[in-house]
């Protein structure tokens, strides 16, 4: 007790000091939902760390997830003055409101504020990571797959919440699946088989309770049992000494036949084919152990599928972003609308749009969400929008991992372009190797010492005619080149060379000893 508490006290002191300095324990946020109704694929939106409602400042933490033509972006920061962006007198701890539509109809911005939970003092550095894979092929889910993902999400969240619970610090799907490299790609152990950028897989980061390691083992056992039941592959972060993030230990290989059988058995009634429209939903509230499990339980009970999700804790605030497929019967709804509702009403509305119910009685069931850890969460939803998943005839996309650290220029006017955007632009210039590229995942933290630290996953599609065996060599040439050119660009923009840390690699573990989500 005393040892773990001795780690929590300084953390609490730091959190409280930050709140006291800012004048209140409130964190401001912007949630942006990208997605167009009419166009099949919207242009890639601008992703960077300045919040849409306050262009002149830098968000302390930023998360962007853009798996297809629709996606999310979340910014959080601490206000300079203790105010809340709501009209009228309010004592609510969580507020959110949609912002009037901007010029771009495919962008929906919500802004709000949340009072933090000072009891949630988990350090992302004390965590363990899991990768659950349903298949190595590229991401092409149908309705039944999305319902399976909801089941898997529920399995993970309830396993984490059992026995006093550990928090789910980060959860994302789809992600790049990983396979132990076969001999021809292995080389001396430094090689890796080329991966697809996104597959039907879930990546989870679970906070650890140092006081009770049995909790971690119980969690692993429960998740392994679940993976076996559904025919999923399971990899866990390699805990051997000196291993870094991106090195996986394979526990189970995916059993595709079993997965298909379970899918048919459970959700044979689900509509066939890929979802045509999705609703973008963000659950926001103070981070609390057990809130994910409560939401997952509700989604399973209402037969709501999850096409894509990215749940993360930013400045002790939980943001659970989900892309929920709209039921085919509801597709006729006109234009996208944005709503902010408390969780009971919000889930009710989402269920009426996205519930793939086969029995009407399910709809009538009373939700118990108001009695759980997610009781005061707000639901921001936009939809329906077109997810715009890649067509089957298109070539595979490959992931490139980027990690960087540059000094922050406080003046937005003189700030050089965002590093991830620079790398993307540079990759696109290599037209003889790359046909297209986009940022899939982006996470940035502005550190207290005034440096911007970021991590991103960029997916690129290579030119036709490259065989699978040639891909590693091609990417090994591409990454150092782009890295060098971007550094040169930054130096031209008057960023001192000595303060630039930048690494672009097609093997995630090459980014080195990065243990946190960043």
């Amino acid at each position: 007790m005393t040892r773990a508490a001795s780690r929590e006290q300084p953390t609490l002191a730091a959190v409280a000091a930050r709140a006291a300095t800012a004048g209140s324990a409130t964190v401001m946020f912007n949630v942006t939902h990208f997605g167009a109704t009419d166009r099949a694929a919207a242009d890639a939106p601008q992703i960077d760390f300045s919040p849409p409602t306050e262009h002149d400042r830098a968000a302390t933490e930023t998360l962007a997830f853009y798996p297809a033509a629709a996606g999310f972006q979340v910014h959080t920061w601490i206000p300079d003055s203790p105010h809340k962006p709501v009209e009228g007198v309010s004592i609510n701890r969580i507020t959110a409101s949609p912002r009037p539509a901007e010029r771009d109809p495919a962008t929906h911005v919500y802004r709000g504020s949340v009072v933090i939970n000072p009891n949630f003092l988990y350090d992302p550095a004390h965590s363990t990571e899991l990768l659950i894979t349903a298949g190595y092929d590229r991401w092409q889910p149908d309705y039944a797959d999305s319902l399976m993902i909801t089941r898997i999400y529920r399995g993970i969240a309830t396993s984490a919440a059992a026995d006093g619970g550990v928090p789910v610090l980060f959860l994302q799907s789809p992600v790049a699946p990983y396979r132990d490299p076969p001999g021809r790609f292995r080389e001396d152990g430094s090689g890796e088989a080329p991966r697809v950028a996104n597959g039907l897989a879930v990546r989870v980061l679970v906070g650890l309770d140092d006081r009770n390691p049995a909790k971690r083992l119980a969690l692993l056992r429960r998740i392994t049992e679940m993976a076996e039941e559904y025919g999923l592959g399971l990899q866990i972060a390699d805990r051997r000494f000196g291993r870094v993030r991106g090195e996986w230990w394979s526990v189970l290989a995916p059993d595709l036949a079993r997965y298909a059988a379970r899918k048919t058995e459970l959700f044979g009634w689900a509509p066939a084919g890929a979802p045509q429209a999705v609703e973008l939903v963000t659950f926001v509230g103070p981070a609390r152990v057990g809130s994910s499990a409560a939401i997952a339980e509700d989604l399973v009970a209402r037969n709501i599928g999850i096409l894509a999700t990215s749940a993360a804790t930013l400045q002790e605030i939980a943001f659970i972003n989900m892309m929920l497929p709209v039921a085919p019967a509801r597709l006729d709804r006109a234009h996208p609308s944005g709503t902010c509702l408390p969780i009971v009403e919000g889930l009710g509305q989402v269920a009426s749009d996205c519930g793939l119910t086969r029995k009407q009685d399910l709809k009538e069931r009373r939700s118990h969400i108001a009695l759980t850890a997610a009781t005061d969460y707000q639901v921001l939803s936009t939809g329906p929008v077109r997810p715009g998943m890649a067509a089957p005839e298109e070539a595979d996309e490959h992931p490139l991992w980027l990690s960087w650290m540059v000094p922050l220029d406080r003046d937005p006017a003189s700030r050089p372009p965002d590093v991830a955007q620079l790398v993307l632009a540079q990759l696109r210039e290599a037209a003889d190797r790359v046909t297209s590229g986009r940022i899939d995942y982006y996470r940035v933290r502005v550190q207290p010492d005034g440096r911007v630290r970021g991590r991103a996953k960029i997916k690129v599609r290579l030119v036709d005619g490259v065989t699978r065996g040639q891909i590693p060599a091609l990417l090994s040439e591409l990454c150092p080149w782009a890295q060098r050119e971007v550094v040169a660009t930054l130096v031209r923009d008057h960023v001192p060379l000595r303060s630039i840390r930048l690494r672009l690699a097609w093997r995630e573990r090459w980014l080195g000893r990065v243990t946190t989500v960043m």
């Binding site: 006290q9 805990r239 051997r240 000196g242 230990w249 010492d449």
Partner: protein
């Protein structure tokens, strides 16, 4: 009343565990007057107090720390602390919150920075100086307490505001936040009172009033108690923070922000020794155990961000520093995680294997890889220590010390054998590391190489042999000084622990030749020669049978005079009194309060006894007759010979002590003792123990 206060003070200071913290808070809450108006709010003080507390707990802005230790006497230690403060670690917001002039606009030119935490029992004034030797302004404890009160009240309101129950009209916390103002003020007033008084001087718990109908004040207090119980779990970090604010003083100094680095130096209050060995022991035992070396243990805490820590000791040139080393528990969090993992895996071994053999293999590989790293680290420490002892030997002997780890030829240990804990655990871990690196331990779960029982044995062996303790040896070439340099070695990719590192310095101080003992043996020899000389002269018949002295006595012996009175008795008495007296006055015998005095206790008694013997003999010569001197001479010579024998025994004991390869002492990690000694005895405590850690933390 005084007694009650004292009891409370003891209980409050030793409140380490969560239940005690909660209980002492609730006791204080029962005794604090209920305010009738809201306590003052000051946003600057709130931010200042919380930032001071956060910085003082982490001390992240301190890059390097050096301590110079001086033994003021054998029971008191003075230390001078130098720290390098890195101002770039402080963020712009922190600088604003810590500004020393609240009315100043823009970037502050000076800020308050906490540089140390002290127990409230150390009350000596501390003067802090900067690199130029100028005295640096300090925030008074009253002002610090004022800021801490505001800060902790703010933290309390933050906990209250963020609780979801405060939005539910039926809950007590809703009422506390909105309607029951006096209960809320009472909690804040309790926080203020506890920080003000240091949790002491609380009266006895009055309990509830005798009347059956709850009075206003009882109902206010009951609601406040219920709210505190709802808000704060037993292990709530808030109560931990409050405990720090209540039981410790922060040393807060003003630092200029114009420079990125600041160097500060202060003389900490003189510490009294904790050990009971120096005081209150039965005197016979003290007389029996003459100190041939004085062992001193100094325990301190290295802040978590400090990557480099120096500790030096300088003693008067008469004293030698025989052994000086520093141990720290920097790997303790890593070892604790490893041991916990081992026990947890052993407990669910069968289940893990049943769910998936690869899951079990992953856990076992993780455990063995970390064991191998511990093996590499501690083996390196062992090598360093052995070469240090070799260096110590080279100062007085050509013979090299014998170490089992070096002298015994390494037997071939199989991979399976290396996975079993050995008595000499570090050598065993070294073999394990070798097998792990050479890929001989690829399959642990398949081959059933590691069984749950072995995991538990490993866990016990690692804990009991203190494998987490590392060691840094003296690297000061001078004989009367010691210096050890500690560096942080992060454990792989593990995140740097938030916990401070506790470090222990062990030093053995001796009086090596040319020492007082050798001078005293010369004095003893001189007195013996003098007494024997006079004996031969005056009582030749005593030495009749002795080879050389017999004939000498017969030749020199005074012819049998008719009267038995010695004619030159005055001269003999003068010689017997003067010669030892002059020699004694030439000896450098220090006060027995000092360290040197403690070390020279035995030779000092020997010298005094020798002089007393000579004096007594002189008395016998002066007063006695010639024919009655035989017995005094025999007694004197006998007593002097006994003293000579004691001196010889003492000299031998010193020589044995000097060749001690490892001190069997609590300050020395167990793994080191078992690696070097075949049959170690029970570890002993040090003569003097000093500690900067609070007394309730060192058990």
């Amino acid at each position: 009343m005084v007694l009650n206060g004292a009891l409370h003070s003891i209980r409050t200071r030793s409140s380490r565990t969560g239940p005690d913290r909660l209980a002492s808070f609730l006791t204080a809450l029962r005794q604090t007057p209920i305010p009738t108006s809201p306590p003052p709010h000051d946003s600057h003080q709130e931010a200042l107090g919380l930032n001071l507390l956060a910085l003082a707990l982490r001390l992240e802005h301190i890059d390097r720390m050096s301590e110079e230790l001086t033994l003021a006497d054998s029971t008191h230690m003075a230390r001078s602390v130098s720290i390098d403060v890195n101002m770039t670690v402080l963020t712009a917001e922190q600088l604003q919150a810590l500004r020393s002039d609240p009315s100043q606009e823009g970037r502050p030119s000076t800020v308050w920075v906490p540089v140390a935490r002290q127990s409230r029992t150390d009350l000596a004034p501390v003067v802090v100086r900067n690199a130029a030797g100028e005295v640096v302004p300090r925030l008074t404890q009253v002002e610090t307490a004022h800021a801490l009160i505001h800060g902790m009240s703010k933290a309390f309101r933050m906990f209250l505001d963020s609780d979801p129950r405060t939005e539910d009209g039926g809950e007590l916390l809703y009422d506390i936040r909105h309607g029951l103002n006096r209960s809320r003020w009472l909690v804040e007033a309790t926080i203020a009172r506890m920080i003000d008084t240091g949790g002491r001087y609380l009266g006895p718990d009055p309990g509830r009033s005798a009347r059956h109908r709850p009075t206003d004040s009882d109902s206010i207090r009951d609601k406040a108690v219920a709210a505190v119980r709802q808000l704060f779990a037993i292990d709530s970090p808030f109560l931990g923070l409050l405990d720090v604010a209540v039981s410790e003083y922060l040393l807060v100094v003003q630092v200029r922000t114009s420079k990125t680095q600041a160097f500060l130096r202060y003389d900490a209050p003189v510490m009294p020794a904790r050990s009971q060995q120096l005081r209150g022991r039965a005197t016979i035992a003290r007389w029996g155990a003459f100190r041939r070396e004085m062992t001193v243990q100094y325990a301190t805490v290295i802040p978590r961000a400090v990557n480099s820590y120096h500790v030096t000791l300088e003693v008067p040139p008469e004293i030698q520093v025989r052994r000086f080393f520093l141990t720290s528990d920097v790997d303790a969090p890593a070892l604790r995680t490893l041991v916990n993992d081992m026990v947890a895996v052993a407990d669910s071994y069968v289940e893990l294997g049943a769910v998936s053999p690869k899951l079990l293999e992953a856990e076992l590989q993780g455990i063995v890889s970390r064991l191998a790293e511990f093996g590499r680290r501690r083996y390196r420490d062992l090598e360093v220590f052995m070469s240090y002892i070799e260096d110590c030997y080279s100062t007085f002997s050509r013979r090299r010390p014998r170490f089992p780890a070096r002298s015994e030829t390494p037997a071939a240990v199989s991979a399976a054998d290396s996975l079993v804990p050995h008595r000499r655990i570090i050598t065993g871990l070294g073999h394990l590391a070798h097998h792990y690196e050479t890929d001989n331990l690829r399959k642990l779960a398949d081959g059933r190489l590691v069984q749950p029982d072995e995991l538990r044995r490993w866990a016990d062996a690692l804990t009991s042999s203190q494998v987490s303790t590392d060691i840094y040896v003296d690297n000061d070439p001078r004989e009367n000084a010691g210096h050890a340099h500690w560096q942080r070695r992060p454990f792989g990719s593990d995140p740097q622990s938030m916990e401070p590192v506790s470090a222990t310095v062990y030093m053995a101080l001796v009086d090596d030749p040319p020492s007082l003992a050798s001078n005293v043996s010369k004095l003893l020899l001189a007195v013996l020669l003098l007494v024997v000389g006079f004996g031969v002269l005056l009582q030749p018949q005593l030495f009749a049978g002795v080879p050389l002295l017999g004939p000498l006595g017969a030749w020199l012996g005074l012819p049998g005079s008719s009267d038995s009175v010695i004619s030159s008795a005055d001269a003999i008495v003068t010689m017997l009194l003067l010669v030892p007296g002059v020699m004694l006055s030439r000896l450098d015998i220090p006060s027995n309060k000092s360290v040197l005095g403690q070390l020279r206790l035995f030779p000092r008694y020997v010298a005094y006894t020798a002089v007393i013997i000579a004096g007594t003999l002189a008395l016998a010569v002066a007063g006695g007759r010639d024919d009655r001197l035989a017995v005094p001479f025999v007694l004197a010579i006998g007593a002097l010979l006994v003293l000579a024998a004691l001196v010889a025994i003492d000299g031998t004991a010193r020589a044995v002590k000097r060749r001690n390869r490892v001190p069997v002492n609590h300050a020395c990690p167990n793994w080191l003792i078992t690696e070097i000694l075949r049959k170690p005895g029970r570890p002993k405590g040090c003569t003097a123990n000093f500690s900067t850690i609070r007394s309730d933390d060192d058990d």
